[in-house]
Amino acid sequence: MLAHGLGRSYGDAALIDGGKAVLTRRLDRMLDFDPETGWLRCEAGVSIEDILETFVPRGFFPPVTPGTKFVTAGGALGCDVHGKNHHVDGCWSNHVRRVELLTASGEVVTCDREQEPELFAATVGGMGMTGIILAMDVKLTPIHNPWIAMESIRVENLDHFFEVSAQSSSFTHTVSWIDCVKRGKGMGRGIFMRGRHANADEVGHASALTKLIEVADPVMAVPVNGPNWLLNNASIRLFNEAYFRKHPKGQKNVLQHFEPFFYPLDFVRDWNRIYGKRGFLQYQLVVPKTSDNAPLRAVLDAITKSGMGSFLAVIKEFGDLSNGGLSFPMPGVTLALDFANYGQPLLDLMERLDAIVVEAGGRVYLGKDARVSRATFRRMYPEWEAWKAVRDKWDPQRVFQSDLGRRLGLVGGAA
């Protein structure tokens, strides 16, 4: 049995072959809200979109949001999702104080950092394998308006990226698009975006535009699967070149609505169809920062050499908050890469990337992974054994399973 929310995990985290998926999307009631403190008690099927719709007009925002608003609160906790503000605010779970969990015995257990703290910690980033999350208390962030004061800066290479990133610590939200086709001097070039929720006095005429943007969503849809040849090395190179050149040298300051800032792809319904029937795989890694960032260069080098371009790639420096267990973020640099599914050559490339990442003491994000091996996983997440011990204590019969858990040896008996 496995809880399944909006199904936005890219890999096999929310799949259970031959088992029962418990659809939680209709468990979507908001149970209590305190406007003094921002604490919201909601059921696990409430989505980030639901929270935005209800609370942005009242001056509150989700404390952390991934790149799509189509995820549930339960999924956000199960994957311990992070966003552009990780360096300041950490992950989703860092804003959750209490969880109601349906455990394997059928008992509903309320856990937090004092009461059943082990179960709470294992459920954070636990990929749904400790039980079915029923409800949680999450603290929303106060905002003045739906606008983001944003600066975008063209970065010419990887060193320049780190320079700008270091100068951006006063911004609550940072992320950079990175051209991972470019080799040589321009390796790591991209467009760095940094922003923060706009103050009350920064927004004049912009507020009138809010309504327009809100009714415009979603703007487009990809009606059919694209042909497989649509995204090839040449078209990806062209796209990256154009995207980079479109941005003027230096810096641009704008006031941007939160929708395109946080959720650019949500404007294009079924955007994944652009990859065609073969689909795509995402590889998101984090590696600790080093003086020369050799591991990161090695990753970019391996990608450019492979000839398999990543259509969309983003890079960001994480903060120091790390939640342990199976939670992904750790201090370092994260790189998220989308590859059209080129089959075996791509899987081979990812194996090579795994080796670089493990060697550097890094890891991949389970919420997006579909293929990492059991042995590699164990080196990436050394706390897996302690996590599994807690899980097994609460679920000795292995009621809760997933294809990901089976693949990684987290819910099976044998090593």
Partner: protein
């Protein structure tokens, strides 16, 4: 003015309650499962800020209905609108060996609904204003072997509402009959319907708009009016041989 939704835990009832709450009306949510009703009331309070109260009711306990309506008006104020959204398809075995199960379906869907309709509109007609919305079903338009117990109860309820509408017209109370086709709720969950299923939120919007226009009978989705029009015209001599 407030609204009471009887059978308030269904997806569509919840959407109707939310639609009215968005207009600022206080809401009473009634259901057998009070805990579930309370979660829905809480959701409405968080999302709209209105006074939303949950309570229990028993459709077959007709003696309790007048007192219940008084208690509801005590809690949320005089009712401007009431929605009878409960229904029970029952679990009736194929050869109808156990008539008690059939009787319960009739008691809930017809007797209980008619009793609540009387209790609610008695208050409304004293005030000379109000709207009663009865959620029926296209299953009530023609008896079919597969669900005629439920269908006959819903059909009788539609006739009842027709008479009530006629009686209350000159007292300023409006009665609207809603005949639902497939809507994406618990009742249709997992059914292979082959016919498009409407979203509960869209159905709620249509019901809200129709109530404002004082529509007498609303089919939703609207194409069901045409489908049932055709089904009703099939001669009985032929119909009895079919398995629709």
């Amino acid at each position: 003015m407030s609204i009471a939704v009887f059978g308030g835990t269904s997806r569509i009832a919840r959407a109707i309650a939310q639609r009215w709450a968005e207009d600022g009306h206080a809401v009473w949510i009634g259901a057998r499962d009070v805990e579930e009703a309370e979660r829905i009331a809480a959701d409405l309070r968080v999302k709209t800020g209105v006074n939303a109260v949950a309570g229990s009711f028993d459709a077959v306990d007709v003696g309790s209905h007048p007192g219940l309506v008084a208690a509801i008006e005590e809690a949320v104020g005089p009712l401007g609108c009431a929605v009878l959204a409960f229904g029970d398809m029952g679990e009736i075995d194929e050869d109808h060996a156990d008539f008690a199960a059939a009787r319960r379906v009739i008691d809930v869907n017809f007797t209980g609904a008619a009793s609540l309709a009387e209790a609610v509109t008695a208050k409304m007609s004293e005030r000379g204003a109000g709207t009663l919305i009865g959620i029926g079903s296209v299953a009530g338009d023609r008896g079919r072997q597969s669900n005629y117990v439920y269908g006959s109860a819903k059909g009788a309820f539609a006739l009842y509402l027709q008479g009530l509408r006629n009686r209350l017209f000159k007292r300023g109370v409006h009665v609207m009959t809603v005949k639902l086709g497939f809507v994406d709720t618990r009742m249709t969950w997992g059914l292979d319907t082959k016919i498009p299923v409407a979203a509960p939120e869209q159905a709620a919007r249509a019901i809200h708009d129709a109530a404002a226009r004082r529509v007498d009978t609303l089919y939703y989705p609207p194409f069901w009016r045409a489908i049932m029009g055709v089904i009703k015209t099939i001669p009985e001599r032929a119909f009895k041989r079919l398995s629709l």
